[in-house]
Amino acid sequence: MDEDVAIIGVGQSVFARKCGVSVRELCFQAYKEAMEGLDITRDDIDASITCSAPEYDKQRTPSGLISEYLELTPKPAFYVESVCSSSSTGVRIAWSLIRSGLHKVIAVIGFQKMSELTSREAAERMGRGGDIIWESPFGVTMPAGYAMYARAHMAKYGTTEEQLARVRVKNSSYGARNPKANYRKELSLDDVMNSNVITSPLKMFDCCANCDGSSTVIVARGDIAKRVSKTPIWVVGLGAATDTMTMSGRKSLTGLECSQEAGKQAYEMAGLKPEDIDVAEVHDCFTVSEILAYEDLGFAKPGEGPGLIDDKETYVDGRIPVNVDGGLLSKGHPIGATGGSQIRTIVRQLRGEATEAQVKGAEVGLVHNVGGVGQYGNVTILRR
């Protein structure tokens, strides 16, 4: 049996504030893109994994519904959740199921239809993403959690609000070219700096927006991948880790330990170092999150992340291009779909198909996807 595991198909829907279709129709959009051009049909898919954050779903147990709509029944359907990193967790589970010999080809389908809730309702659910006895009664939110990391980073390293804003300026320049991004305007430093404060020091344009969207990643056993795909993209490194749910449990407030640990595992499995990565997608739910990721993944030393954006090293022609599809900040963040969308971007980069912003000759890419305020960390390394 071929022990290698590859990604053979990727797709995502347009990410939008309101998709105007049902969840099953939304999922079909990503699934269609992932399956088109592949020499397999739904009969070859022998399991599906659906990924979403269930508190945002009206539909209970959506994995069965998606499996039915795609006519994948009677193949087994699984459901995984790790909030914002659900579909990266889905790909990790798919890899394991294939390596175990239980399955050969698995569809990992991530989605979220945030527009089924009002933004206040969404904020209330996000607040309950924290510890409901000890932290939610104080009115903690996702942005507030990351804002506390931003403030601690500023206090320790002298990081400035302008440096955070520069992340949004970069990502908006790429988001403007991404036809599947929700936010497609280019923003200037002044635009970001003059936007309303949401939770100090984070302003409106330091934050990504909730939206509707879906993603699909088709994962296959190596021998099948070689047969059905011209350019299989190999999964060479996987890392997953957790940190405490409570903010008071965090040992560090200037870096995400779940990212550091997941990154270490993925580099070790792949036999690679940070300098071997040609292109990366990192979890920029907020501008500060991207700065933390530079450091947590070893693209910069602790405290030197802001220098990377100052020197434009994370632009498409820089030393380590990051989020050259616009990132979550421009694309929007449909919780369960986000990881799959990040994987799609890296797969397209490694296939040389990212015409909007192609990193020349990219052979190795990294995907960093975080759930909650640094609670669940997933790092996936892919190779052409």
């Binding site: 206040r120 006895i133 939610s136 009664p137 104080f138 009115g139 403030r151």
Partner: protein
């Protein structure tokens, strides 16, 4: 009494550590130490995953703590609309005991300095609700 009146909005009531709220009523912010192995916890917990003990003793957070980080929330989630702006803080006490909560409204955002000394104190809120906050030490 459990956690039903704790904080601005409570989401659940029952817990083995509900004495925390009783102590707040008595004017004390308390947390726990495992009776078996001595491990200190915040938030308080009766169960100790380190030694599998299920009994803890309460001790008061009465010394001064140090402000580690903060944020002032301008837009609260559902149930907190009228509460914002409010400031959330992380405060460290002796032996690396790290805590989370709200900063007293008596301290203006412009007067907040990372590293400043703070103390934990119970605070009564509207509608018979009770909480704790961090005040100038």
């Amino acid at each position: 009494m459990g956690f039903e009146n704790f904080g601005t909005v409570s989401f659940t009531a029952e817990a083995k550590v509900s004495d925390f709220v009783t102590y707040l009523e008595q004017g004390k912010v308390m947390t726990t130490r495992c009776k078996n192995c001595g491990a200190k916890y915040f938030p308080p917990q009766m169960d100790c995953p380190r030694c599998l003990g299920t009994e803890a003793e309460w001790f008061e957070l009465k010394e001064k703590g140090k402000l580690i980080t903060y944020t002032t929330v301008q837009y609260g989630p559902s149930g907190f609309e009228d509460d914002a702006p409010y400031t959330l803080v992380i405060v460290d006490f002796a032996d690396g005991l790290r805590t989370f909560g709200r900063l007293s409204r008596d301290i203006k955002e412009s007067d907040i300095i990372i590293g400043m000394e703070l103390k934990a104190a119970p605070v009564k809120q509207a509608n018979d609700r009770i909480s704790y906050e961090f005040q100038k030490a």
